[in-house]
Amino acid sequence: MAVERMKMLNIIGHLEDMDFIARELVLLGCVHPVNALHEINSNNFTISTTVKNMDALMDVGFVKPYQKNQEADRIAGQINTLLEAFELDRDDITVDPKSKAGLRGIAGDIGDIYQKVEKCRKDTESLNGELARNRELKEHFGYLAGLDFPWQDLMEMENFDFRVGTFSRENTVKLRTNYGNIPAIVYPVKSGKERDVVVTIVPKTLTVELERIYSALGYQSLQIPHELKGTPAQIIQDLEEKERDRMAQLKACEETMQKTREEYGPLVRRACGELILYEKMKEINNETACSNDFFYMAGWIPAGEKKRLEARLKPVKERTLLFCKDPEQVDKSVSPPTRLKNSGVLRPFEALVRMYGTPSYNEADPTVFVALSYMVLFGAMFGDVGQGLVFFLAGLILAKWKSRPNLGGVFTGMGISSMVFGVLYGSVFGLENWIPPLLIRPMDDITTMLFAAIGLGVVLLSIAYLFNIWNAIRRMDLEEGLLGQNGAAGLLFFWTLLITVLLYFQKGKLPLPMPVIVLILAGLLILTVVKEPVANLLLRKKPLYRERVSDYYIEGGFGILETLLSMLSNTISFVRVGAFALNHVGLFLAFRTLSEMIRNSGGKAVVLIIGNIVILGLEGLIVFIQGLRLEYYELFSKFYDGAGIPYHPVALTVPRKRRTSTGSF
């Protein structure tokens, strides 16, 4: 249970080595890049002044961001087009880590294939265009198929115009109401869904008038070339012949394409591997700064990976400067990314923590606490051997076969805990007569259940306080840790109040005389209010207040109210753990009563099974959420900040099928 130690890596090298180094870093897969220019500007990028470093140092004054490599981007674009044409899925392609070719090494081959494919694509496109136009014309002449005149003659009439065109539906109706006033013969040949096709024959002298009417009605003339030969029927035949011819060409094109695919498939796959690698390298390079001869890289690596890194960069060791610094040596404004390190059983619960926020680098990793407390809370609310087993199995299935390791892991944990509490409560699939309870039957002793729940809450809350104090110690934050309302003062106040109340109600007496208790409590409360000036006094810091004094105390006054209220509500909130345990039994009781009202035993079983399904689904979900609520709201708010940066190293991602537990649910 920890946050992994990080080191700041600075690399300075010759520009010609840059691609090699970026490649090695990607293959190493554990560098979280940081913008080098930003690092240099904030003076983090410190280089010891030796003769060997002189050149690089002189150049630092001229750094600029890494310029995009347009040549490589062009090749990348070609490969992407090829992938599409070859119908390859990037996820299926594995990168060959041994290949040294790089994008430039395969540029020539790829260029050739690209030309071929591109030609094929263009041919196909133009053929398809021709076919579409052909089909359109065929359709148009289909309207005129009954006409036994050569098309050219119709087009070249001396005194008449022959037109084919369309109107929208509603305008055909309008046209019809006014047939009497139209100076032309209008002959509808086809009524379509949206538009009607009409043939119009108009004397040439009247075309102007006709056009005026037609354009008002949204007439759209069909584009038919004049020079087609033969009657419409013959033209259709010609068109069909042309179509067959083009189809044959299209097929030939496809065959060529298929052959190209078979021939160059492996090459394109390899190229895609290079592309993936290149894109990852770009992620690193984009954060790199360059001068005329050198490049400057910065990034975080886990402290333990330093040796492997050095081994990988051995070939260029002589010519490259490599520094590793501890986070303490780096400017405060750059915080290291957080990589959580937990053992296998606990790792799924990292997702629960991450859902709230990634811990800061200096913050304690709450995963263990969350895992244990969440399992206990869930089990206590949902204690049942049988139903727990179902959750356990569901978790196994999710993790193993559905590639949901986090959700699956959390489910298994919940299932185990539920089974343990099932034994304690003596409940199997809701039935309480199969095994004896080891501890208690929730329904038999409701008060104990509820008080026990609050007791559990007190324990968990106290741990949360301790966590906060521990975090404050790590940050060297006297104000929060010692005097804060969630720090030592708060914890002391909480327990003093608790012991007093407990003793008073149990034994009817007070541990100390009343005035003393009141004095202690009031003192602690006042301490939380004046925490800032007191802490600054102790540390001899000035000024005492960061804001206006009056504002500070007004806020502090309300702070007292909030402290008291939240203490009360946070504690009482845990009653729900007991309540849901009772609810769990109660809900099943309802189904059992239903089953007893049914005479035949088959019916009884059905009702019980339905009851179990409802409880598993509905109550399981509610308890799942209530558990989260207790974690996030009651506990995390006491100590957890979650403002860290998640650790995202540049690495070749494993295809989804083989993905292990990373990411969230």
Binding site: S168, K174, N178, R212, S215
Partner: protein
């Protein structure tokens, strides 16, 4: 879903919105105002209070004010649209398309003549602020066919494509856009229940009739348009006047022929005053509609009518405000005179 459920909330909302329309007292106060800023100051005390926010008092262009007032209406309708899902939400969107069509006309005009006018979407009520049309793309079009190409995939496309063949006048384009809206609207009626379709048809039928009459009358009197053009650009929506009746009106010899035809109809009021006929025709139409709408509203409950009526009342009110402002800018007549030009009768 039954209408009682569908309109339970929105009916109440509309009541509240209607309560916020200007009262007669508001009107009277506005009429007494002497300057445009005075009017705006007063409107800022009413429901229009946010309309003029951030507007520089010195540069109150007429256009700027009108655009803001219209956007106010759009905002109201969009807010009402939140109360609906599925078909009804779509129907309200179609009501909003009226603004889109007007904006498209402005864009087309700008492409033809005055590009500076649409450097930014300030001049437009709807496009660039609401809806799916991309202002940047549309306004970057160099020609009308290019603009039409950019409209591919929208309902307007198929109505505008025929106009890209050959040289078409802007008049034709704008008329076609208006008719396109009419037929889109007609089609979207199917989204409503049968009963509601009937009611909406009744209202829009009256509107269509009046629009047609105005179009035919003006076309004949001022523009001397040939009857076939009048007929082809009229709305065939069938209120009281069916296609045959419209055709007869279009082909009647002159304006008095039109008036003769309507002697017995309910629309005869448009032609009864010889001296003020032209001046007040539009106001008479609107005022007639105003009272008909109120009547429709009284007779209906828990249906789409309330929304349509509210929307029109709001439109009338905005037009009245604009009239009052225009009077200050251009005529400065006394309040009693202006009242005659307002849609609402005071």
């Amino acid at each position: 879903m039954s209408n009682a459920v569908r309109y339970a909330a929105v009916d109440t909302k509309i009541r509240a919105l209607e309560g916020r329309l200007l009262s007669d007292t508001d009107y009277n106060v506005l009429l007494e105002k002497q300057t445009v800023p005075d009017i705006i100051h007063y409107l800022e005390q009413t429901d229009y209070r946010h309309v003029f926010a951030g507007m520089d008092e010195q540069s109150l262009h007429r256009e700027g004010i009108e655009v803001r007032l219209r956007r106010y209406a759009v905002d109201k309708l969009i807010r009402l649209r939140h109360y609906f899902r599925g078909n009804y939400s779509k129907f309200l969107s179609v009501l909003l398309m009226r603004f889109e069509v007007e904006d498209l006309k402005i864009l087309i005009r700008a492409i033809h003549t005055d590009r500076d006018y649409i450097d930014s979407p300030h001049a437009l009520v709807y496009i660039g602020r609401y809806g799916d049309l991309d202002f940047q793309r549309l306004s970057a079009s160099g020609s009308f066919p290019e603009l039409v190409e950019h409209l591919k995939g929208t309902p307007y496309y198929r109505y505008l494509v025929p106009l890209t063949q050959g040289e078409k006048s802007r008049f034709q384009v704008e008329m076609s856009l208006d008719l396109a809206y009419v037929s889109i609207f007609k089609r979207c009626l199917e989204l409503l229940t049968r009963e509601e379709q009937q009611k909406v048809l009744q209202i829009t039928g009256i509107k269509a009739d009046l629009q047609n009459l105005q179009w035919i009358y003006r076309g004949k009197k001022f523009y001397h348009l040939p009857p076939d053009i009048l007929l082809n650009y009229s709305i065939s929506f069938g209120g009281r006047l069916d296609n045959a009746a419209i055709r007869e009106l279009c082909y009647s010899k002159d304006v008095s022929g039109v008036a003769d035809h309507l002697k017995e109809s309910r629309y005869r009021f448009l032609f009864q005053h010889d001296r003020t006929r032209d001046l007040f025709m539009e106001r008479r139409i609107s005022r007639y509609l105003y009272y008909r709408l109120l009547e429709f509203k009284r007779k209906s409950s828990m249906d789409i009518v309330a929304i349509i009526v509210y929307f029109d009342l709001l439109d009338f009110e905005i037009r009245d405000i604009i009239t009052i402002m225009e009077n200050i800018r251009y005529h400065n007549e006394n309040p009693d005179q202006i009242k005659r030009y307002l849609i609402r009768e005071l």
